[in-house]
Symmetry: C2
Subunit: 460 residues, 2 copies
């Protein structure tokens, strides 16, 4: 017995604290939870309720206010121990009607939508001759004489890939096109939708003006309409008429909605699961990000409702205003900065409705074992081990600078941008089997890390 004691003491010294890892019982529970999640339609019911009963919910809109009330009620009804809202100052914006008409040489209407935050045109609209650029870089290299008084058309094509990287390549044209074109004297900017869908539904998304540069109207053409305009421009000059009736609605209040299941032995420490409550206004936000909300809420509920509570607290954050400002993430940081040392790990679901195919972590070296266990338990869901360079999603990546370890459960994004940010982001696009697989993966994430013995910090 003496020898054993010495060994244990030495081990403890070597490990700096209690033995790291997960007990066999906890690992068995993780498997049980995972298999249970694969058989449950509850996340789908959550998502159906959100998309039907709330629908579009752009931050600062009446739909957003309904979403906040709905979320509080829903999390409460799901049995969360504690549910509350935290205010987030946002800027309201209304899309309004958008028209683009080719005046000559081939008169016809093209389908467009305003980019998020765009100013309106004058009431009578804007007439102009179109100048096409293959991408933002080409526009940046243009001279004012090429662009002055023109309507600029950035026709950059996005590639569909599993990791969604095509989006990042092309989205700069949406974000900065108006500023670059405005500086060169353009009257307005049109972009080819930053998406991969073939439906005649344009893709919106946030854009930014720059100080000191004229604010020009900005809109996106659907992919077939971008093809149509491109085909006309191959034949010669094209004159169009553009009308946007967007409105800045000024300051408004939205809310982060937060729910918790309290941990059994270390309730002050928490595992965070995030997704965003707001959506763009044209679809019902089924994929972006109703899917994510359903995944994290149901994963937390399954863990919270299981016969034995995990050691740590499980916190679900429904972020406000991810789409048109990102103010929810900042508000969360401001309100919870002093808790970050007790944020054991954070993960976020905000990449559509595809199956999870890879798990990335950002853990300390000694936390690598946790990655091994996660990876082993997720392997049964067809999920492969990725890197230790997880960056989180748009709402939690900011936590990294506060030293919070991160997990990214990467979804297959091959078809995500077929519907993303369009009116087509609706419930019928959701793959129920993929939804169940996502819940199963998040339940493993929550359970393992809410019971993990050992420190995942400092993060690299």
């Amino acid at each position: 017995m003496r020898l054993v004691s010495v060994v244990l003491a030495l081990s403890a010294l070597f490990l700096e604290s209690a033995p790291a890892g997960l007990t066999p019982e906890h690992e068995a529970h993780a498997v049980e939870l995972r298999e249970h999640a694969l058989g449950s339609e509850r996340a789908y019911a959550f998502l159906e309720s959100l998309t039907v009963e709330v629908g579009p919910r752009l931050a600062g809109s009446p739909g957003d206010a309904r979403a906040v009330a709905w979320a509080e009620k829903k999390l409460t009804s799901l049995g969360f121990d504690k549910v509350w809202r935290e205010p987030v100052a946002v800027r309201g914006w209304e899309r309004g009607p958008a028209q683009l008409r080719v005046l000559s040489p081939y008169p016809q209407a093209l389908h467009i939508t305003a980019l998020g935050g765009s100013v309106a045109t004058p009431v009578e609209g804007i007439r102009g001759v179109v100048t096409i650029f293959p991408d933002l870089k080409a526009l940046e290299a243009a001279s004012p004489s090429q662009v002055k008084d023109r309507i600029v058309f950035i026709n950059a094509r996005m590639a569909a890939t599993r990791d969604g990287r095509g989006y990042g390549v092309v989205v700069r044209g949406r974000t900065h096109g108006a500023a670059v074109a405005g500086k060169l004297g353009a009257r307005a900017v049109l972009i080819r939708s930053v998406g991969t869908g073939t439906a005649r539904l344009p893709h919106t998304g946030v854009m930014q003006y720059r100080k000191g540069i004229p604010r020009i109207p900005a809109a996106a053409l659907s992919i077939p309409d971008a093809n149509q305009l491109e085909a006309m421009l191959r034949r010669g000059d094209v004159e169009v008429h553009l009308g946007l009736q967007s409105r800045d609605l000024g300051e408004a209040t939205s809310y982060n909605v937060i729910g918790e299941f309290r941990g059994s032995t270390r309730p002050e420490e928490l595992v965070l699961l995030g997704a965003h409550l707001d959506s763009w206004d044209e679809g019902t936000g089924a994929l972006d990000d109703g899917f994510g909300l359903a995944v994290v809420a149901e994963a937390a509920r399954l863990v919270g409702a299981f016969r034995s509570r995990p050691s740590r607290t499980v916190r679900v954050v429904f972020y406000a205003n991810e789409e048109n400002g990102g103010k929810g993430a900042k508000a969360y940081v401001n309100a919870h900065r002093d808790e970050f040392a007790r944020h054991v790990v954070a993960a976020e679901s905000d990449a559509g409705g595809g199956r999870i195919w890879r798990v990335d972590t950002r853990f300390s070296k000694r936390g690598a074992d946790a990655g091994d266990v996660l990876s082993r338990l997720l392997g049964a869901l067809g999920i492969e081990r990725g890197t230790n360079q997880a960056t989180g999603g748009p709402d939690i990546s900011i936590l990294r600078q506060y030293g919070v370890p991160l997990v990214t459960l990467a979804q297959d994004a091959t078809t995500y941008f077929d519907h993303h940010h369009t009116a087509d982001d609706t419930l019928d696009k959701v793959d129920r089997a993929a939804l169940r697989q996502n819940v199963a993966a998040y339940v493993v994430y929550v359970w393992v890390l809410a019971n993990w013995e050992g420190d995942l910090r400092p993060v690299p």
Copy 2:
């Protein structure tokens, strides 16, 4: 030599005229034309030109007038011997904006479009509580007390099939829903789009009022929006606000555009190929029926440009007003009734952009050999032999009552109704390989029957 002469004389007697059939040289030419068609992109270039340079072309609209001018110019440039237009009296109709807003209990906008020919709502719109019916039959069985002052919603689902028969089953609700609901005292009628697509683009199409029954506004919800309304109605009463700003534009003139390649030995006899020039106003009519126009124009051109002209004349008819009135087909009958005895056979391409999978004929018994030869030559294109009960399409079926033999080259319609009659009927939906296969099939049809020795009449 004498015996031979006797045999020939007896054969001629037995066959009632010259030897029926196709010469080996003509059959070899058919194969050559077919293979040439499979390698040509000219039909696609035709279709691209139509959709880009004309685009939407609802009969009686300015786009329709541009389409007529474009068609005359295009057929002339393709080398047709003779190109002309024939007037068709049509009724103009303008779609105008359409809005449907759920007022309670789940406020949100749903995507709708007016049915073709619908009256407008009053300027301030119509408010009403929705009553759902699974199909027109259920509505027909309803009592006035169930429907009075309600907004009726016919939620019939269409099945996707290769032969497109699902459309005929459900389309009655679109055509007659307003009359049936109007008779029962409804304020307006909404239908689930008669289509199979999942894009949030509603499906329009013609509807009819009945004498003595109040004319109520009629609109279609896209499939995702129909699902949304159905999901709300499962939860309880739903009140909506409907606004349609459609307008009857009164009488207008459109044109059938006709082109011919003159036959070498029997120019007074003709083989007819039809398709329709008009389209609904929301898409660019790439599939309905730009595809058909491209197929018949290019098939005729290939035959006309071939080193030896066929015996009979090849006539291409671009019918006016197939979509919103069918007046082009009637005008053709009125103008050409006295030529029908010399219409050797007619076929029409108006079923989208799918590959041809079956050939049906409507020939006399002694014409069955022509079906055999067609079938043999089309087999190489993956086309199987169908029945001898061909009915033609919407523009040529009327010719049957005048004794004109018919051929139907049936296209695979499995995905046609994903885009048909929606804004999504655009060039990018066209399968170029299917287009080439269609041209190859029509070229066989034209060549074989423009050179066939023997009578296909009387038709059964």
